[in-house]
């Protein structure tokens, strides 16, 4: 069985890879490589590709960081709780053995 620490770390890595994919695809493809394609569409007066490059990606970056912070905070609490549970279990076993 994987240790808590290893499990926690691989959950973190999975989350980072997922978010880095979004972080990379949206600005670099939407705002640079395929910008001409997206510029056919419009968002009010903004050509969409131009908007992604000069506005949208920045809002996305903010959202990514807060999403990551929230998810990791939950993950921290989860593993923190599990650690406490395991400690209590150990203590109870110890007491039972002594009793």
């Amino acid at each position: 069985m994987k240790s808590n620490a290893a499990e926690y770390w691989s959950a973190n890595i999975r989350l980072i890879l997922k978010l880095l994919a979004i972080w990379f695809v949206v600005p670099f493809f939407g705002g640079i490589v395929f910008v001409d394609f997206f510029n056919q569409f419009r968002l009010g007066g903004y050509p969409l590709g131009f908007w992604i490059a000069q506005q949208g990606s920045i809002y996305l970056f903010v959202a990514i960081i807060f999403y990551y912070a929230k998810k990791m905070s939950d993950l921290d609490d989860h593993f923190d709780q599990r650690q406490l549970d395991e400690q209590q279990l150990d203590e109870r076993r110890l007491q039972e053995r002594e009793g």
Partner: protein
């Protein structure tokens, strides 16, 4: 009230606030001096980080860079690059370095790679990157003073230095953090108020980010459509689509700025000041919120101020402004040399065109967009005075952050760890104050005598941070097997490739005559300009580090435990669940 008196009052008031904070936030320990005691609230740290990050260049020059030099869309490289790096920072560096809980970036590298060589290489990269950066801030202080308060450049720089000296030597990181918060408030109001007014007057929408996508009050066309039409009539390329070089160049330029941003030590150390790992992650989010307020406003300022400027010069198509009827702001900025007019065809009118032969606006400095914006939009004098205080706040806050990064590397990494390991806490605090004092004086000296290479140095700062520090830090956290040999070989090869590329095109230390390939786009590697090369340097670093690491011994067991400890946000004892 007279504009100049008003400017003195507003700037004087902000300076009094900074000095007041310096007295209140004196440092009592090395913990205070290096990491502000480690108890800064994540939102407060986010605000301080934003001020630390947004320099004189962001405040004064960026909108103009987007609007003029980079022709609109091409300026996206700055907007994306200087914000996207925070995502890397928040997920790949800040939380783990905070967990490690030490004072400087080279300290982590030295401990993780169990080597003083690695530490000293990191110190050298840090010092070069930060000093090149700080020269720009010192110049920014002098320029802001001389333009707004009509003092000489030297006097302005002298006053600025005294202020920085005061709060950074007295308070270290603690003093710097709390002044940066005040400076953020000043600079963000100074930036957004003129933007709101210009958006309101052109489009009727008070939010500049929406205004740029709205229609003009005057004739109902969209702002960006009008802008495209006006610039193309004069022979410039289309505002919303003109790229900076090739698509590949924009790609690498953006990526280099992102990686460089995440690797700049003066930004990373800000995350050492928050109380926990959780707080470090949140604080990165808040930092980017506060940065985004300015960075999403900047494209609106760029587009609208450029449109305003052009419609002043050419009120209706083909009908150019008479030179002797030019508005007052035009005359004001002409006298500073930021605008220059030359009546080539002698008709007394201002022909503005993309063709250098007929163009009569021989100089439009990038900085004019932000500096003259309140006057062009006919805003009251107090707004202009506020912009002066904002420009100074941006330059001072970034300078202070950089100075701390440099002086702590000297006092903590060189003095305490390498030369005088037995120094007491009290002694180190004094040493760090002395190091700070000398750093301020040295930076000031460079500000008074800016070296020839000052103009090209920001590229160097980002290139070095991207090609040396970022990969070493990231591998140190994410690749447990990485060892001393790999990291040092990676850093040295990353730096060498980047420096070689920058210098061969722009001259050794930016002295033109020593450039052996010339700064010509046909000679650029796949059309990538020197400013955009940091990402390539970073890749070289990663590859070399991985290769060398394969063929050398794995790091000792206690280093692998150190990595485990850094990865886990829990306290050291609880982290190793078996």
């Amino acid at each position: 009230m007279e504009l100049q008196t008003l400017s003195y009052l507003v700037v004087g008031f902000t300076f009094a606030v900074y000095i007041g904070i310096a007295f209140w936030a004196r440092a009592g320990s090395t913990q205070d001096f290096y990491v502000a005691g480690g108890g800064v609230h994540p939102v407060a740290n986010g605000m301080a980080t934003a001020a630390d990050w947004m320099s004189a260049a962001s405040f004064i020059s960026m909108a103009g860079l987007i609007g003029f030099s980079y022709q609109g869309y091409g300026g996206s490289v700055f907007l994306l690059g200087w914000t996207g790096g925070y995502v890397l920072l928040a997920m790949c560096l800040a939380p783990y370095l905070r967990k490690y809980g030490k004072f400087t970036v080279p300290e982590f590298i030295g401990d993780r790679y169990y080597s003083n060589v690695a530490r000293i290489v990191a110190v050298i990269c840090l010092i070069i990157a930060s000093i090149t950066y700080v020269i720009g801030q010192m110049k920014g202080i002098g320029v802001a003073f001389s333009r707004f308060l009509e003092t000489s450049y030297d006097t302005g720089l002298g006053i600025g230095m005294v202020i920085v000296f005061f709060y950074s030597v007295l308070g270290g990181m603690k003093g710097i953090t709390y002044t940066q918060i005040a400076q953020y408030v000043v600079l963000i109001f100074a930036y957004t108020i003129p933007a709101v007014f210009i958006s309101l007057s052109l489009t009727g929408n008070p939010i500049p980010q929406l205004g740029l996508g709205s229609t003009l009050i005057s004739d109902g066309t969209y702002v960006l459509d009008k802008l495209n039409q006006v610039v193309m009539e004069l022979g410039f390329s289309e505002y919303t689509t003109s790229t900076r070089g090739s698509t590949l160049n924009m790609f690498f330029y953006t990526l280099s700025l992102m990686i460089g941003t995440a690797g700049l030590p003066h930004v990373i150390i800000r995350f050492f000041t928050v109380p926990s790992v959780k707080a470090a992650r949140q604080s990165a989010g808040w930092a980017l919120v506060f940065i985004a307020i300015l960075y999403t406003t900047a494209p609106a300022v760029a587009g609208m101020a450029r449109l305003n400027l052009m419609s002043t010069i050419e009120p209706t198509a083909g009908n150019y402004l008479q030179y002797d009827q030019r508005p007052q702001w035009f005359k004001n900025w002409e006298s500073t040399g930021l605008l220059e007019f030359e009546d080539k065809n002698g008709d007394g009118r201002i022909q503005y065109s993309a063709d250098p032969i007929t163009n009569e606006m021989v100089k439009i400095d990038n900085d004019i967009l932000v500096l003259a914006n309140p006057e062009i939009a006919k805003l009251p004098n107090w707004v202009i005075a506020l912009v002066a205080a904002g420009g100074l706040a941006a330059a001072l806050s970034t300078a202070a952050g950089l100075l701390l990064a440099i002086s702590s590397a000297i006092s903590h990494d060189l003095l305490k760890s390498v030369f005088m390991p037995k120094i007491t806490e009290r002694g180190e605090l004094n040493a760090s104050r002395i190091a700070m004092a000398f750093t301020v004086l040295f930076a000031g000296y460079l500000g008074f005598n800016p070296p020839d290479f000052a103009a090209g140095t920001v590229a160097l700062a980002f290139g070095l941070a991207a090609s040396s520090l970022f990969p070493a830090l990231m591998l140190g956290i994410f690749y447990k097997r990485m060892n001393t040999a790999g990291a040092v070989a990676g850093m040295l090869s990353g730096i060498s490739v980047t420096l070689l590329y920058v210098f061969q095109h722009t001259g050794i230390m930016f002295v033109q005559s020593t450039s052996f390939l010339g700064n010509m786009s046909p000679n650029w590697f796949f059309g990538i300009e020197p400013n955009a090369f940091g990402a390539v340097g970073a890749m070289v670093n990663f590859i070399v580090a991985m290769l060398v690491c394969r063929f050398t011994a794995e790091p000792p067991i206690e280093i692998q435990q150190l990595v485990d400890n850094v990865r886990s946000p829990f306290s050291a004892g609880a982290a190793t669940g078996h």
